[in-house]
């Protein structure tokens, strides 16, 4: 009986788009590398202390290689939404997303600087917006991204932050916020990760 009701319930669900997205009005934000409890702390002279972060970034950026992006995603026009409507009964699935090349990230792409500036005390931190299906984030001068249908090979747009002048041996609390007209600006909401992200940065130097 229970199994039957569950089965019937599952039949009513869409394969590609959730029925409701009540909880996801404001997408969450997240940083890479994630570190322990959103804390990036290392000693610039101690290779082992930052090597982890570099590896994490390498892994994270791997799908953003140009070859991968061209293979999977479409090159879209900047500043327009790439919307793939279903044509009536024929579902337009799987959907494709726009290309986001690693090269866009410049110094933080890991192509020129293999270590993302970590040994120099100028670390790169990538900020990503949580994926939410059907979200139209609005235009943003910094982020030429468009969302589209769910895809296995979807890679989110990223923003890179490079800290150029960091005081050594001190905790730096960083809060990044998304500025957009379409995304409700969370001000006093309890969710510290909706449309913003805070993390701590500490670079030690002997």
């Amino acid at each position: 009986m229970f199994v039957l009701t569950m089965y019937v319930m599952l039949l009513t669900l869409d394969d590609y788009k959730p029925t409701y997205q009540d909880r996801l009005a404001t997408p969450g934000m997240m940083i890479r590398p994630k570190g322990n409890a959103l804390e990036i702390s290392y000693n610039s002279e101690d290779t082992e202390s930052w090597d982890l972060y570099v590896q994490a970034l390498d892994n994270f950026l791997a799908p953003y290689n140009e070859s991968q992006q061209i293979m999977n995603n479409k090159d879209c026009t900047p500043n327009t939404y790439f919307i793939q409507e279903d044509a009536g009964e024929i579902r337009n699935n799987p959907k494709r997303s726009c290309q986001f090349n690693r090269t866009v990230l410049g110094n933080c792409s890991g192509i020129n600087d293999r270590y993302y500036g970590y040994p120099d005390g100028q670390p790169c931190v990538l900020i990503k917006l949580n994926r939410v299906i059907g979200m139209l984030p609005g235009k943003d001068d910094q982020s030429p991204y468009v969302t589209c249908g769910a895809k296995v090979n979807y890679s989110q747009p990223l923003v890179a932050v490079k800290f150029l002048n960091v005081t050594y041996n001190a905790d730096i609390n960083v809060e990044c916020k998304i500025n957009s007209l379409a995304i409700a600006n969370p001000t006093s909401d309890r969710d510290k990760f909706a449309g913003r992200v805070s993390f701590k940065l500490r670079i030690n130097k002997n």
Binding site: M1, F2, T5, M6, M9, L10, L13, Y16, K17, P18, T19, Y20, Q21, D22, R23, L24, P27, G28, M29, M30, K34, A37, L38, K128, N130, R131, V132, I133, A150, K151, V152, Y154, R190, D191, K192, F193, A194, V197
Partner: protein
Amino acid sequence: DSYGMFVEMDKMDGEMDVQIKKKKKIKKKERLENMKKEMDIDDHEITIEELEMKYTTSVTKGLTTNMAQQVLERDGPNELKPPKGTPEYVKFARQLAGGLQCLMWLYLAITLIAVVVQALVIRDGQKNQINANMLVVGDLVEIKGGDRVPADIRIISAQGCKTRSPECTHENPLETRNIAFFSTTCLEGVATGVIINTGDRTIIGRIASLASGVGNEKTPIAIEIEHFVDIIAGLAIFFGFTFFVVAMFIGYAFLEAMIFFMAIVVAYVPEGLLATVTVCLSLTAKRLARKNCVVKNLEAVETLGSTSVICSDKTGTLTQNRMTVAHLWFDNMIHAADTTEDQSGQSFDQSSETWRALARVAGLCNRAIFKPGQDTVPIPKTLSRYLAKADRQPQPKMAQLGLIYLLVMKGAPERILERCSTILIKGQELPLDEQWKEAFQTAYMDLGGLGERVLGFCHIYLNEKEYPRGYRFDTDEMNFPTSGLCFAGLISMIDPPRATVPDAVMKCRTAGIRVVMVTGDHPITAKAIAANVGIISEGSETVEDIANRLRIPVEQVNKRDARACVINGGQLKDMSSDELDENLRCHPEMVFARTSPQQKLIIVESCQRLGSIVAVTGDGVNDSPALKKADIGIAMGIAGSDAAKNAADMILLDDNFASIVTGVEQGRLIFDNLKKSIAYTLTKNIPELTPYLIYITVSVPLPLGCITILFIELATDIFPSVSLAYEKAESDIMHLKPRNPRKDRLVNEALAVYSYFQIGAIQSFAGFTDYFTAMAQEGWFPLLCVGLRSQWEDVHLQDLQDSYGQEWTFSQRLYQEYTCYTVFFVSIEICQISDVLIRKTRRLSVFQQGFFRNKVLVTAIVFQLCLGNLLCYCPGMPNIFNFMPIR
């Protein structure tokens, strides 16, 4: 000695070695057994010289001060030990622990106020005024009008001393005139006497300590709830342990598994149950109060419903407690008078001349007065009522009748007859020959056999010449004729049964409740009243009746043939407890006459040994031990003494036996309704528990939170479960046998299994279906949920992917979890609404019982829905109570 024992008993409450405790218990038991035995007092029979010897005292000089001091040290002070109560601080602690019953805080306010009584004592030949508690056995004391008798006293010399008849003696075999009892009041006169008993060894003291020594029996509902708690606790620990093992097996850390174990046990406790039970009982208590039953102890309400034996007092409870003329004999005929309370019945033919004469004699020979507002009541009617409590000593009285005097006299019939030479028949004075005397005897025996008190009346017109106007009659010198009078007739009186009683006794009978009469009255009177009210039903015979009918000796009668049985105190004294049990077993209709307080207790105990739930009614101090021992003690509100009211669980404001029957009905109803309420309350335990179990075993995100559970238990479900208490009786509950306390439990396995594993399971499935639907619709497919727990609850994981690849922050997931709580909550609520309709009836169908007959229940359902909506959709709820608006 006994004082020491009391001290020890008091200490028993403290923490003492178990072994010592056991010893004490045996001691205590022995002491109680002693108490129950009849008191042997011979002090009123021995001579004063012997008395002096016995107490080494002197009737002129009293004790020496030294001696008194010694005795005081030996016996302790002359005061009643306050009843062995739990120390106040323990009660306080218990209340704190027990919660809820705030009413009991009142106990704290109750303290005993001791009043110091002074007594005039003669010691060393000197009169001294000392505190009554310093008195000792052997002391010579003086009492005068207005004093409270300070101890049991053997009166040595007295001048017109009268004490108010103590409450304990009218049913006490010790009928003597030279003993004044402790705590009675000397009304007038002066007396000197030797103290024979002090403190707790006085008659009153013994009764009081018997009452306090008799443990309060646990009420059946308390037993039921204990039984129920056992079941719950057993199941909780079983479940807890099973899942503890499962958790350990799955690979949780020991500590984590331990927390799970505790959480399950706690989740299993039906938090709302106690509130429900208390409210249900209070409701009934309130309803009973309107019907003149004040319930002191809430649990007593239900006890009344399971009562299977009622030991009822006669005077005042079954009867009107006033002597009323029942029969008259004149003109060689027995006439029946109207004994109803409001004189509405048929009266006899009052046209005879003899009646007029008899009425005149009776009217003149009594001290009745008209109460205000009774001026218009016809005299014969008032007359028949106020002949009460007449002396049986012949009392001549004079009355002026025009120019001549009329001498009227009433008294014991045989004594009156002795003084008569003529008899009044149809207004004619006929010579009193053997034939009339025989007729008189027959009538006297007949009336006596009815258990009535018979009085004879006679008169004589005095000669005008011998006794002219203004003649001074002197009753001491008897300067008037006291023989050769004219016999007018007999009037017999009885304390008639209350009009409602026979009906009530009948109802008890159909309800399978046995009514046993226990009275201090004479066996014949007791039997007559018992037959009158139906305690001894028509056609039932006692062993003696059968013997009479068959003209065989009593010994040859088969005891089992006799349905009825009248046992008097004397017989009871010689009976072993087994014999008494045997008697109670084989005679369904029992009357105990001439019983003492101790015997009342023995009877109650015997009934309890036979497995009955016993209700006892009583009014006097002497009844308090039995009232306390009984499963439910019922005190009389009007006639009852404070001691009786204290010992009782319930008070009948109108002293009417019929009120008990109402009580029984309500008690049975509440048991039925409590069963429904509890079943209803229990059911939701399962859908509250399973989310947690699934959470542990399958590691899904938690479907139902603690706060939500508390809301179900204490907010939304309270009203419907209480509303079941308003449910009307399904069938005629007064035609069923009383429940068998051993078989018909409040919560039995069948009910638990049905609640838990059928309805509970259905509710759980409903909850989970909704839970998984809510999750899936937001993007978390059931299969993904499985095993998701640790990631789901990871505070640092801000981008957990759902089935669609969407990423969720922790906070978003938390609110999603709250949504699940709410969804689960709503499922349980909806299921519970149908559950309350299921529980509404146990035997009939809902349609037979009527959907809307219980208005409270309908209101409760509406209330539940409104509250549910409020919780879900009121702004601010998500953050305060973890409720989310759902679609």
